[in-house]
Symmetry: C2
Subunit: 255 residues, 2 copies
DNA sequence: GTTCATTTTCCGTATTTCGGAATTATCATT
DNA sequence: AATGATAATTCCGAAATACGGAAAATGAAC
């Protein structure tokens, strides 16, 4: 497990993630364990959060996220909520194409992408795609639609990570090929993935924020045998349109 | 202007509120001014936030709320979003009663309530109620629906505040009368306010969280001359039902 | 009431934080 | 390009704070 940072400021930022992430009610000991902080130090930090109202005390000796923390979150989300804004776009895609549409969000510090919203295909044959599931950045259409638009230094950091794929155990594409693939994604504006071996295929396009920083991607996934039935070029355009509309919404919110 | 706290942890918590509150893009100097922190100290704190991804840098020397901060906010809101949950309830009230319905949220550290959601009456004669507007806790149905359910120490703190009302400049109710009024609110489960002088009337009921801590209130406001046209008792029941349904949703989310 | 687990306080040490001043970077203007 | 104005960043010594192990206190369970 990763060691916590030093210094009160860094630790508080670090801690907030565990609180937002964790259960609605928690004990000091439990949080100490999850965050890997000594109990007495954690106690001091919680006092600061209590003073700020970001954490409150419940019955007995339990803590809980405070009303101020919710207020803070609401204020942030009020200006722009990626997930909520994406929802109608995903629904539209499913309506038009009858395949599962997903929204992935990218976390720059974790260097990971996760599925944050899904609209399932009506088809009975479908993969179960779970909200919250992690997306490997170097494999699949979803991952690469994000990876391609990361700054070079972050791409480097990512490919220094695991070298076997999550679903197949297949090795990562050799460096030059992967870079060629990413270049193609950038010029096309979308990524395609087609793997008859694992019977999965997909197309995805990046969602970018105000400063062109990547927020995530919108993608459509399907069993590979259905891939050929679609006019893939048209589907790609539809996905790109959805993704860039979402990018537009983000840009407006942040201007 | 209030002085910032001392100590890195307290300052970071303090700072987050300014960031969530403030514009989507900001400069160090501007934030320094708003938060009343020395530039060099603020710079150090921003470095910590940058390391955590809670703040990012945009073009030039501008800062902006980071993707991690949005992720954090989304995670918190995902479990329960007071505003979003309240929306259909407010719409229902307006549909049934044709009067403006509002949701107020209470911030325990600011000891203030604000309007966070409004559904307007279709009536042409209506007060303009603004999202974000502050609600005085000792006056009006909305404020008292909250005040009545605060812990005694917080009530004390509130009534030590301003002693003249925001709309009328009328003095606060004398202490014994106010306490009697609050007791009535608690037994009734809702507050009523009827002031022909300022031609405004309203009924409001508290929204409580898992530990019975007050989150805010739902209320309906109207011109006082329309108040008499309604079956006020039935309206009060409808509002109480809405508020307790919302309380229920909050409790479920936090259990 | 007693026990056990957990939280909270204590406290000496060592690390960070603090903020004014100096420096450097950035931007607008010529 | 060069200049000046403005703002961001780094520096640094003094002082305050954070740190965490250990002890004390709390409160839950029996």
């Amino acid at each position: 497990m990763a060691d916590p940072p030093r210094g009160a400021a860094d630790r508080l930022a670090y801690l907030l993630k565990f609180i937002a992430n964790g259960p609605a009610r928690f004990s000091l000991g439990e949080l100490a364990e999850r965050s890997n902080l000594p109990a007495s130090s954690l106690h001091r930090l919680l006092q600061a959060l209590l003073r700020a109202g970001l954490v409150e005390r419940g019955a007995g000796q339990e803590y809980r996220p405070g009303r101020e923390l919710h207020r803070l979150a609401s204020q942030l989300i009020a200006s722009f909520d990626l997930t909520r804004s994406a929802r109608p776009l995903l629904e539209r895609l499913v309506e038009d194409w009858h395949e599962t549409a997903v929204l992935c969000a990218y976390s720059p510090t974790l260097r990971k992408a996760h599925i944050v919203e899904v609209v399932m295909t009506p088809h009975p044959l479908r993969y179960s795609v779970d909200k919250g599931g992690e997306i490997a950045l170097a494999w699949g259409s979803l991952g690469r639609a994000i990876l391609a638009f990361l700054p070079p230094s972050e791409i480097e950091a990512v490919i220094r990570g695991p070298t076997v794929g999550p679903l197949t155990g297949s090795p990562r594409l050799p460096r030059p090929e992967l870079f060629a693939e990413l270049a193609k994604v950038r010029t096309n504006g979308h990524s395609r993935y087609y793997s008859p071996k694992i019977e999965i295929a997909g197309i995805a396009a990046p969602v970018l924020g105000h400063g062109a920083e990547i927020l995530g991607c919108i993608g459509v996934t399907m069993p590979s045998n259905r891939y050929q039935l679609h006019r893939a070029d048209n589907l790609a355009v539809a996905i790109q349109d959805s993704a860039s509309e979402l990018s537009g919404l983000a840009a407006i919110a942040y201007s």
